[in-house]
């Protein structure tokens, strides 16, 4: 059987398949459907310093081969996560990776400092790409100086693996990727959702309470794939790829484009067992193609 382990700096994943932040809750929500211990990792719902109620309903709109969301980082705050949620999931045999958010650099620092102290947490994902909050979020991720500033500040207070999640809502994603790499990111994950909107022609109103939201699902896959490929060639740190992955073939395409690991997002809503099916599919692909280690796939795209 092929070796499915992948290493992202000091973070060891038993396989390259993880679940994307905001689409998999805290994992527990899926425990009736799959064995969570099979996953490479779980990127849990976005966390902030204080409780956030998020945006008003409606927060969701189905679109062609995808959906818009405008959840707005609803969560009970970092302290609640550490005291009440993490103890329930910490014994899972998979990497639990918190997704860190803030409206100011200070907030990012404070949340990260708290997580740095938590035993068992070996990595964080710095979300500088949420399109659904008024302050912070994507504002950090769409300009090079601010992306560098927040990564640099968080790097100083975090000793473990630091993954920075990039926004696709930029002219040149490789510039931001290089910037955060220079500021000390151990890996980059991409992409977050695309800023988008939906209108109800009958009522002449926007579908979302926030007018705009973030597009995810297979509709974004070809763009996400292109960005992963570009970033893979622009930086030396590992790339974690996501955006519209619905099955093992999609996942393998991301790895061929340069991803070391992948995240499954919106697909979890349609099939709560899809993440495990993707692991099985990757295993089969490796077997059929005589691949001894899954890492061989990373960047193995053949352009003749």
């Amino acid at each position: 059987m092929a070796d499915l382990t992948v290493k992202i700096k000091d973070l060891v994943l038993k396989n390259p398949v993880t679940t994307a932040s905001g689409t998999f809750g805290f994992g527990e929500e899926f425990a009736d459907f799959i064995d969570l211990n099979l996953l490479g990792g779980i990127f849990v719902k976005g966390l902030t310093l204080k409780l956030r109620e998020g945006n008003d309903y409606p927060r969701m709109a189905e679109t062609a081969s995808g959906m818009l969301n405008a959840v707005g980082l609803q969560n009970k705050g970092i302290d609640y996560f550490i005291s009440d949620i993490y103890p329930r999931i910490k014994d899972l045999d998979t990497e639990i990776i918190p997704n860190v958010n803030g409206s100011t650099v200070e907030e990012y620092i404070e949340v990260t400092e708290k997580l740095n102290e938590v035993e068992g947490i070996n990595a964080i994902e710095l979300n500088i790409s949420c399109p659904n909050v008024k302050e912070g979020g994507m504002a950090f991720g769409v300009s090079c100086p601010s992306a560098i500033a927040v990564t640099d500040a968080v790097r100083k207070v975090f000793d473990k693996t630091l993954i920075v999640k990039l926004s696709p809502n930029v002219t040149d994603i490789t510039e931001i990727a290089k910037g955060v790499e220079g500021a000390g990111a151990d890996a980059v994950s991409l992409v977050n959702t695309f800023l988008a909107m939906a209108i109800d022609a009958k009522t002449r109103k926007p579908v979302l309470s926030t007018v705009t939201g973030g597009l995810s699902g297979p509709a974004i896959k070809p763009i996400a794939l292109r960005m992963v490929w570009q970033v893979y060639h622009a930086v030396k740190v590992p790339v974690i790829g996501l955006g519209g992955i619905m099955n093992a073939t999609d996942a393998i395409e991301f790895m061929l484009a340069g991803a070391k690991a992948i995240q499954v997002g919106t697909a979890n809503f349609i099939d709560p067992q899809v993440s495990v099916k993707i692991i099985e599919g990757i295993e089969t692909y490796c077997k059929e193609n005589n691949i001894s280690s899954v890492s061989e796939l990373t960047g193995a795209l053949e352009i003749s």
Binding site: D32, F33, R59, M67, Q74
Partner: protein
């Protein structure tokens, strides 16, 4: 326990131009279902329907491994689900959400509008088992939209209001004479369009009658993972798919 299970289309029963009962069968046993629970249905052969569709469980037959849904056509998914051939595979996540509560009531009123009648066969059956006197009140625009009264008859008295007066009392449900003695009920259960639920919840509140409403917010995951389906409550945003769909009307932060 929540389960993802393959079913097949058994049969349809069309009730009017837009409403139908869809019965599915499975080779596997059926999970225990409570009144108010819903399912997330993957609409087959419909590439333009991306997400699952949340639909209340109308009836369940454990012995013959059947699940029945009452569906009203409002868009592409609900239309497609009415056009499948018998034997078509259909994948379902169920039972989801909480259920209506029954705690020693003596006399209850159940109000349904539109597809909101769906959860009330299971509830009516449970109330009957507990010897609770049940009155059903259904509201619609016109007579042809009031369906399945013969089914509900088995579990209690059935009343109706129609906006055009073609059946029962003319007007909205809240104009029905049962409301003149609303304090005679110790509980109201309601599922229907928001304005109807709000109007009933307001009257229930004024007369201190306990009132449970079942909400139909749009959903993506149905299992509490995406936080898309929230409603405002007195203790912050709650997920309709896991904390609901049934809420006590006092809990909801409704501007009424």
């Amino acid at each position: 326990m929540k389960k993802i299970q393959d079913f097949k289309v058994k049969e349809y029963r069309w009730l009017n131009e837009t409403g139908y009962l869809l019965t599915l069968y499975s080779d596997q046993t059926i999970e225990p279902v409570s009144p108010g629970n819903f399912a997330e249905i993957k609409v087959p052969d419909a590439p333009d329907v991306f997400l699952r569709r949340p639909i209340s469980i109308f009836d369940v037959d454990y012995e013959n491994r059947l699940l029945t849904f009452y569906i009203k056509v409002v868009g592409k998914g609900t239309k497609k689900m009415g056009e499948l051939n018998p034997g078509t595979p259909i994948n379902i996540m169920y039972p989801l959400g909480n259920s209506f509560t029954v705690n020693g009531e003596k006399n209850v009123l159940i109000i349904g509008g539109g597809s909101g009648i769906a959860p009330f066969i299971l509830l009516g059956r449970e109330l009957q088992k507990k010897n609770i006197s049940t009155t059903f009140l259904f509201g619609a625009r016109s007579k042809n939209e009031i369906v399945l009264t013969e089914e509900f008859d088995k579990y209690g008295r059935v009343l109706a209001t129609t906006e055009d007066g073609s059946m029962g009392e003319k007007g909205l449900v809240t104009q029905h004479p049962v409301f003149s003695d609303i304090s005679g009920f110790d509980k109201i259960y309601i599922c229907g369009p928001d304005p109807m639920m709000k109007a009933v919840a307001k009257i229930a509140g004024e007369h201190q009658v306990d009132c449970e409403v079942s909400l139909e917010n749009m959903m993506a995951c149905g299992i509490g993972a995406c936080l898309c389906c929230v409603t405002k409550t007195t203790s912050g945003n709650k997920c309709v798919c896991t904390d609901g769909p049934v809420f006590n009307s006092k809990e909801l932060a409704w501007q009424i």
